[in-house]
């Protein structure tokens, strides 16, 4: 059904003058608990255009999933306090009523989840669940919706979709379940697709297929994609922009290629150092980040990363302990932002970090 106000036509490109397709400004998601306020997301800002992909990277508990659930409005009806602005295609999602938001959920913005086995209802067939997603936003008969579900299953590469449509989720393999989730997410041609660790629960070979499929579909539907992951390989493969999150905030944000080759924040260095390299030369070391992600209830003073930071002593005085660095332009141009007090991060990265994790690269530079 093509209903349609000019601002919500799924196929329209971002209207000039109205800003980016998705713009998140100073997003905060706070959960009041009896022990205090958990600041799961605390001032997140980013932009995303149609046809492009943003990778959000960070450890478990850094606020990635909470932030994306906020875009979908999934915190509505819970105790969470969400503030800031989430403007999708000119509409501030946070100012919508619950019902208006519900009508956009799954239609203009949809989400695929990490573990497709638990994310699909065990008692309903795959086809039933996909068709349900279609019928809630389109006034069509069950038969039409089912035909559409078969079509989508075919599109995402499920063999014999007309037969598999009547299977239950547990009869699918992990990769097929994730394909079915993607079919469910894309059945209404949403302008924004959020993929929350879509490959984490899958085999490596299947991971590549799923990422490939996502890229294909993104091109086909010209949608904006947010991919949440802790796998920098996925980011390098998929993302146009990367946002590194730590303790509910962005600590580094920039174009993927730039950020991955010239990271300027010790936490990003830590993530890069933790990734094994297949081509790897044996001199390269895997260096885990010491310690655990910080408590969001009671985050460390100053820079939240300072208790785990190996480079904090290179900052004069006790700045890292006392003052939280803002997300500001680094030394490499206006598109690359970082939140760090270090004055010469590029030099430190080249001379101290790169020689450890990729000696060859360090020599080339």
């Amino acid at each position: 059904m093509d209903t349609i106000t000019p601002t919500t036509t799924p196929t329209s490109a971002a209207t000039p003058g109205t800003g980016p397709f998705l713009s998140v400004e100073d997003l905060r998601v706070h959960f009041p608990t009896s022990d205090g306020v958990v600041k799961a997301t605390d001032g997140l800002t980013f932009k995303l255009e149609r046809g492009t992909t943003l990778g959000i990277v960070g450890e478990s508990g850094s606020g990635k999933s909470v932030s994306s659930s906020a875009i979908l409005g999934l915190h509505r009806g819970s105790s969470a306090q969400v503030s800031g602005r989430i403007v999708l295609d000119g509409v501030d999602l946070l100012s919508l009523s619950d019902e208006e938001m519900r009508l956009r959920r799954g239609k203009e913005v949809s989400m695929i989840f990490q573990d497709p086995l638990s994310a699909m209802h065990p008692y309903f067939t795959v086809g039933n669940q996909i068709a349900e997603a279609y019928r809630v936003h389109n006034k069509v008969s069950k038969k039409v919706a089912k035909a559409r579900a078969v079509e989508m299953l075919d599109r995402v590469g499920i063999p014999q979709p007309d037969r598999r449509v009547d299977d239950y989720p547990h009869q699918f393999s992990g990769g097929m379940r994730q394909r079915a989730m993607i079919a469910m997410g894309l059945i209404n041609n949403p302008g924004l697709l959020i993929a929350d660790e879509p490959t984490t629960a899958l085999d490596v070979t299947v991971q590549a297929q799923i990422l490939d499929l996502l890229q294909d579909l993104q091109r086909e539907f010209d949608s904006a994609v947010i991919i949440i992951t802790h796998d920098l390989g996925v980011v390098a493969e998929m993302a146009d922009d990367v946002l590194v999150m730590y303790a509910g905030r962005a600590v580094e944000y920039g174009p993927a290629k730039e950020l991955l080759t010239h990271p300027e924040m010790p936490y990003t260095w830590g993530l890069l150092s933790s990734v094994p390299d297949v081509k790897g030369d044996t001199d390269a070391r895997l260096i885990p980040i010491p310690g655990n992600p910080p408590s969001l209830l009671n985050p460390p003073s100053g820079c939240p990363f300072h208790p785990r930071c190996a480079h904090r002593d290179k900052v004069p005085g006790d700045l890292c302990w006392t003052e939280r660095p803002e997300l500001l332009q680094g030394s490499r141009g206006p598109s690359h932002l970082k939140a760090c007090h270090l004055a010469n991060p590029d030099e430190i990265y080249r001379k101290e970090v790169l020689v450890e994790i990729a000696p060859e690269l360090a020599e080339e530079l």
């Binding site: 239609k107 638990s118 997603a133 809630v136």
Partner: protein
């Protein structure tokens, strides 16, 4: 499916055999001589032996169990004494197959005793089951949907109090106030459907049914609430919301369906347990059901009745288990019967 049921029934029969053996063994492990009970005070040793033989207690318990098992299939005479059959056949009671024994105390075959008492217990169980399932599940779902509100706290609090109340106390309260003092209902008396019609039958069962239901209902409110809350935190409920489904669909179609599955299991087994009689409720309202029969049989060491009741109750539980497992396979497509 049929093979599964047959296999389960076969296992159930074996279980029944074992249960009857255990009941016999336990009975004879007791230091009390059943003949003492029948013979009474001032009983000479000679009389006692006579009584013991008349009751069939002179054999070892294994032999007695053998006779019992045989009787189930071919019937028995009590006492099975060829001489007596010649001299005084009118003193011999015949118990046709399936014979679960003959109760001297109650001068009746156990099968007849069960025939008389089972409808009473079954009626109370059915009425109670209706109240507690409808009440418990509805209130439990309500509490879960209004989590943290005064409704939720009130329901949880009240059910905790009711859960802690002894059944006999609730029964007596209802009896005294609702039936006697306020006269809202007739003083409960068991009426068969033949005698009083459906309405007479129901009105007689109202208070006992509620009494019995209160305890279970309190438990089911809390259990249902817990399962529903748990299912709301399932990933697939989040998926359902992410699809943009209306809240009602998310709640009733996606969350509740999963939450109610374990309740079906509990309800099936609890109901089967109740068919064996609600001892306290039947005693309070003086209803001639299985529970009351069991208490009496226990107090006068009536082995045949006890064995019969144990077998009956075990049969109900076994059958209920099979039905619940079959239901489970219908509800949850992941369950395969094997």
């Amino acid at each position: 499916m049929i093979a599964y049921v047959v296999r389960r029934l076969f296992a159930g029969v074996i279980l029944l055999v074992v249960m009857s053996i255990v009941t016999f063994a336990l009975f004879f492990a007791s230091p009390i001589n059943p003949a003492d009970f029948s013979c009474g005070k001032n009983c000479s040793a000679e009389q006692k032996e006579q009584v013991s033989r008349a009751l069939g207690f002179e054999d070892s318990w294994v032999t007695q169990w053998g006779k019992f098992a045989k009787g189930v299939f071919v019937g028995r005479d009590f006492p099975d004494d060829p001489e007596l059959r010649k001299t005084a056949p009118e003193t011999i009671a015949h118990c046709p197959a399936p014979c679960l024994g003959y109760s001297r105390e109650r001068t009746s075959t156990v099968t007849d005793l069960i025939k008389d008492t089972l409808p009473v217990s079954l009626s109370i169980a059915v009425v109670a089951f209706f109240f507690w399932i409808v009440g418990g599940v509805l209130l439990g779902v309500t509490a879960a949907l209004r989590r943290g509100t005064i409704v939720d706290r009130g329901l949880v609090g009240i059910s905790l109090v009711l859960y802690a109340f002894p059944t006999f106390f609730i029964g007596l309260l209802l009896y005294k106030f609702v039936a006697v003092q306020w006269g809202w209902v007739d003083v409960p008396r068991y009426t068969t459907i033949e005698d009083g019609g459906i309405s007479g039958w129901l009105s007689g069962l109202l208070l006992p049914g509620i009494t019995l239901a209160v305890f279970f209902m309190a438990g089911y409110v809390r259990m249902t609430r817990a399962y529903v809350l748990e299912s709301f935190s399932e990933d697939y409920v989040r998926t359902a919301r992410a699809k943009g489904l209306p809240k009602r669909t998310v709640t009733f179609k996606h969350a509740l369906r999963a939450a109610l599955t374990p309740i079906v299991t509990m309800a099936g087994l609890d109901f089967a347990g109740l068919m064996g009689g609600a001892i306290i409720t039947e005693s309070v309202f003086n209803y001639p059901g299985l529970g009351k029969l069991a208490v009496l049989a226990n107090s006068d060491f009536d082995l045949p009745t006890l064995v019969g009741l144990v077998i009956l109750l075990a049969t109900f539980v076994i059958i209920a288990n099979i039905i619940v497992d079959l239901l489970y396979a219908v509800i949850d497509p992941r369950v395969r019967l094997s």
